[in-house]
């Protein structure tokens, strides 16, 4: 029973981290077909933002709360710059965006090494987030609960933006039929840029969350990017709810297999399951019915 609760929680927690990492990707990949390999480095930028905030502000609690919106801005701006300078000219060849953004990620990593040093830095967790909290006799780490809540809030926020705001309507229109949206007077360029801003900003927030879990160094992004893309692929392109389900399924699967085998084997098995799954549903959990020939 103990193990059951702990492992389900660890799975959900791992899933929530994956979800934060993949949510922005689901937006940018979903809407524009851009495969942004630098997404992981946007997360890294968010993590370093949290570090800088803490160095400037001192107090761990305040700086964490301040760094969330600041990291959103930093990630978002990085995204907008990338979109406006490079990706904009490449929408007709989405596969190449993968390589271009890979180059960007290499540069950002090296930049982080040159700016902050090769050694990792530490962001201290505020007192109200360190240690475990007892719920029904089980000890849950506060920081993991915080990330879980953060992920849920982020999903709800993105959903509300897409459903209720004018921007959300424009995004959905552009995704469903770019040409028709244009002829209806929607500036798809502006919409693209805003989508990229939000997606990359979410990466920044994910980066802040990760400072509670692990090391902050130049290779922070590379540890998450492959898994995040798997989440998007399993979830189905352009599907927020798909990404949510996929992230939690992957998280729980990883932690359960890891408990009964080892961390290395678990990664390999999870990958094999993903390939097997795509055999049955090549378009992910949620398939979008269209008349296009796919």
């Amino acid at each position: 029973m103990d193990i059951l609760v702990t492992q389900v929680f660890n799975g959900l927690s791992g899933g929530s981290i994956l979800l934060l990492a993949a949510l922005g990707l689901a937006l940018t990949f979903g809407q524009m077909g851009v495969i942004n390999m630098a997404h992981g480095e946007f997360m890294m930028a968010g993590a370093y933002t949290a570090y800088v905030c803490q160095q400037l502000l001192g107090s761990a609690g305040v700086s964490l709360l301040v760094s969330l919106p600041v990291a959103f801005l930093v990630g978002g701006l990085l995204g907008v710059v990338l979109e406006a300078t490079l990706l904009r000219r490449m929408y007709h060849r989405p596969l190449d965006t993968l390589l271009v953004t890979w180059g960007v990620s290499l540069i950002l990593q090296q930049l982080a090494r040159d700016l902050f040093g090769t050694a990792g830095v530490d962001v201290a967790a505020p007192a109200w987030l360190s240690g475990p909290v007892e719920i029904l006799g089980f000890a849950f780490p506060r920081s993991r609960l915080f990330i879980l809540v953060l992920a849920v809030v982020a999903v709800i926020a993105v959903t509300l933006v897409l459903k209720l705001t004018p921007l959300g309507r424009r995004i959905r229109a552009t995704v469903q039929n770019r040409r028709l949206a244009e002829s209806a007077g929607i500036s798809t360029r502006r919409t693209d840029m805003l989508t990229f801003f939000i997606g990359s900003g979410l990466a920044g927030i994910a980066g802040v969350a990760l400072t509670l879990m692990g090391s902050i160094s130049s290779n922070l992004g590379t540890s998450y990017i492959v898994d995040a893309f798997l989440v998007v692929i399993i979830g189905g392109i352009g599907q927020i709810k798909g990404a949510v389900i996929a992230a939690f399924v992957l998280g729980v699967a990883q932690s359960w297999i890891e408990y009964s085998t080892s961390a290395s084997i678990a990664k390999v098995i999870v990958f094999a399951l993903v390939v097997a799954f795509l055999q049955f549903r090549p378009q992910g959990i949620f398939q979008v019915r269209t008349r296009s020939l796919v």
Binding site: D2, I3, T6, Q7, N10, S13, G14, I17, R113, T118, A119, G120, V121, D122, V123, A124, A125, S130, G131, P132, A139, P141, R142, S143, R144, L212, M213, G214, S215, I216, S217, N219, T222, S223, Y224, Q254, S255, E258, Y259, S262, A263, S264, K267
Partner: protein
Amino acid sequence: MTRPRARRSLVTAAFLSLGLALTACGSRVDDAGGGAAAESCVDTAGSSVKIGFLNSRSGTMAISENTVFNSLQMAADQINASGGVLGKQLTVVAEDGASEPTVFAEKATKLIQSDCVAAVFGGWTSSSRKAMLPVFESNDALLFYPVQYEGLESSKNIFYTGATTNQQIVPALDYLKEKGVTSLFLVGSDYVFPQTANKIIKAYAAANGIEIKGEEYAPLGHTDFSTIVAKVRDAGAGAVFNTLNGDSNVAFFKEYKNLGLTPASMPVLSVSIAEEEVGGIGVDNIVGQPVAWNYYQTIDSPENKKFVEEFKTTYGPTKVTSDPMEAAYTSLFLWKGMVEKAKSFAVPDIQAAAGGVSFDAPEGTVTVNGDNHHIAKTALIGKIGPDGLIYTDWSSGAPIEPDPYLKTYPWAGSLSG
């Protein structure tokens, strides 16, 4: 049509390469000597002599290896300022190992064959050392390796100036046993050092009545330790023996603290966390945990005071010194001692003269063992203080003779076979 033409050129190409390959055949494996080993091209005629530094300046290991490179550079500058070696100034050729074993092997070859250096200093991971070992053996060149490692190795072409297992892991186990620990949980990264170290730990435990409650490995760079730490907590061992490497330590210790585990409830003894790693992990997350090394910045001796001061003057007041840096610094002076004793830069002369060469290092006096090319060192168990530095908690008292194959330990009989 293009077909016949292309087929003809295909056949031509195949024959061409086959023919050339056959005419170029050299000696067979079983020929005496296995082919001529490359002649040494080291130039000692001039007023200077070249040495090579081979550290990862890029990639995941750059975090640690840059500091080793810095202290090597400082040692070379000091030697040059005091007149060089045998009256010759040292010219440093620095290469980047890029944290990849293959690159280490390639760059080592370059340093030996192309740059003709008299000796190479560097390497960090066991993978990098194992990748370089055949290069140095086949070219009959010298490598000075400055990091503690898993033992069970001894090459006449390598001098190991870091600790071998009986100078670090075995004393650490003695320390835990002295403290009354009766059960252990082993956590390590999934590669050769932790696996070999844990093999030794298990042999020691079996002979000393210590129960091993679990053994977990995480892939290098693994970031989610929730499951592993949950297993550690549920196993309820007396202590954790940690051989994790690099970034994984950060995630592990943050998770450890998040689950409410403390040095008092279940200490984690680490063998890969030195002063410079503490900052990245966060002092709060690791304060009070024991580590095992042979050198700490806080050692109180005139040699160490000078070493720390010079390092801070050269590289900045916030820099810390650590065991591998000190071992690298020492290695250059030991090489100098060997060369001066042999009065020669030639590899066979140095090998013959090496035994008994000693140096008053920052960690204390160290002496080279001429048989296994390791050095006698004092083992120190330290505790991480609230200022991020490490303070000696227990000492072996005298230098321990290196015994890489643990031949003098009856419980280790099955290991070296």
